[in-house]
């Protein structure tokens, strides 16, 4: 306790705490209040994804020779490997669901309106990022499902007029899907996307706290003037 006082005096932790957790939130009654938890739920799942992802990276090799075998090693040999991979697998799907529901809530309640447009735009980028995470992560187990799903996905990118063929080549790291595709997707999945994601989430959260939580839309009494 003494240490906490010492630290608080020097860092202003109490003020940070008050700003983060002591802020005013709209008073909402009934089941509607649950809709306001979707963003936090998505953040929580994201933390799970980060933790389990780091753990999986300890035993995973992004190489065609070893990817599938190392995933099987995680599943069959490492204690709780199946649980950790299961969390990451299901968490990925669940995160997409939560992020979409979160967006729907914001849309339906009109919470994206002035002054929260930037929060909304950053949020849309975050939704796209979550999908990019899902797409790049899906290839990593390097089984039949992963391989052909990525073949389909990259071919869809190839349908883009003009830039399509270049985009496919860039995604695959060459003419054909292979070792370079796997390492590229791995780098995207564990290095590039997480950095962008962290920055955008910081921005998103900052804006949420800066503007405060929006009030739910209220029914206004209509007065007839005829």
């Amino acid at each position: 306790m003494k240490l906490l006082t010492w630290l608080t005096e020097r860092t202003g932790l109490d003020q940070v705490w008050r700003v983060l957790f002591g802020r005013h939130v709209p008073e909402i009654k009934g089941p509607v209040a649950w809709l306001y938890t979707l963003g936090s739920a998505a953040l929580f799942i994201l933390v799970i994804q980060v933790v389990t992802g780091i753990l999986l990276a300890m035993n995973y090799v992004p190489s065609p020779d070893h990817a599938y075998d190392s995933v099987r090693f995680i599943d069959a040999q490492v204690t709780f490997g199946r649980v950790i991979r299961g969390c990451h697998h299901w968490g990925a799907s669940f995160l997409v669901v939560l992020v979409v529901l979160h967006m729907l809530r914001v849309y339906v309640m009109g919470a994206y309106k002035y002054p929260r447009e930037v929060t909304w735009m950053v949020g849309v980028l975050l939704l796209l990022l979550v999908l990019a995470f899902g797409f790049t992560g899906y290839l990593l187990p390097w089984d039949q499902k992963a391989y052909w799903a990525t073949a389909v996905g990259t071919n869809i990118a190839g349908q883009m007029p003009g830039l399509g063929p270049l985009l496919v080549k860039l995604l695959k790291g060459g003419e054909d899907m292979g070792a370079a595709t796997l390492t590229r997707f791995y780098a995207l999945h564990v290095l590039i996307l997480p950095i962008i994601m962290a920055l955008l989430i910081l921005g998103h959260l900052f804006l949420v706290i800066w503007h405060g939580i929006s009030e739910p839309p209220k029914r206004r009494r209509v007065t007839r003037q005829d």
Binding site: V51, M58, V61, H66, S70, F73, Q77, V78, T79, F80
Partner: protein, 162 residues
């Protein structure tokens, strides 16, 4: 509990308890996952050298074999050999085929009944003891066992002390 525990404090405590539970569960599972190597027994890759009846008593035999080794998700194969000898068909001695001086492969001289190393003229007797030359210790031996009439050896790359 006193009357200070109002609704806000109660919910705060609930959050604390639930949060602790979640962190404990994740930490426990994740921690055990990370500590996996500590609980992992070393996997011994025993090699089957064939039926013991094939090993003639008397002079040592050089046996070639392929050792399949397990390294996490990888299985690698290594070609290697060992010197096997048995005085009576029941007791066996298996020597590491590398001279204990600098690791040269030695050979058996049937006339002198000695192992000769060509590199620096190290000489060992049939029990592996140093007769002359620079080797600092007797020949290294591999652990072995007989199971179901088959001779099994454990040829570790780093010689186990015999």
């Amino acid at each position: 509990m006193d009357e200070l525990l109002n609704r806000r404090a109660f919910l705060g405590r609930c959050i604390g308890v639930l949060g602790t539970l979640i962190v404990a569960m994740l930490g426990g599972i994740g921690g055990r996952y990370v500590l996996f190597p500590l609980f992992q027994r070393r996997r011994e890759d025993w090699v089957d050298l064939g039926p013991i009846a094939d090993i003639k008593p008397g002079s040592p035999m050089k046996v070639e074999f392929v050792q399949r080794r397990h390294d996490a998700w990888m299985t690698t194969e290594r070609r290697a050999s060992a010197w096997v000898l048995t005085p009576n068909g029941k007791d066996f001695v298996v020597f590491d085929p590398r001279c204990t001086h600098l690791g040269c492969p030695y050979r058996w001289d049937d006339e002198r009944k000695q192992f000769l190393c060509p590199c620096h003229a190290g000489i060992f007797n049939i029990d592996g003891g140093v007769v002359s030359g620079p080797p600092p210790r007797p020949l290294d031996r591999y652990p072995h066992t007989v199971r179901g009439g088959q001779l099994l050896i454990l040829p570790n790359p780093t010689p186990a002390a015999a």
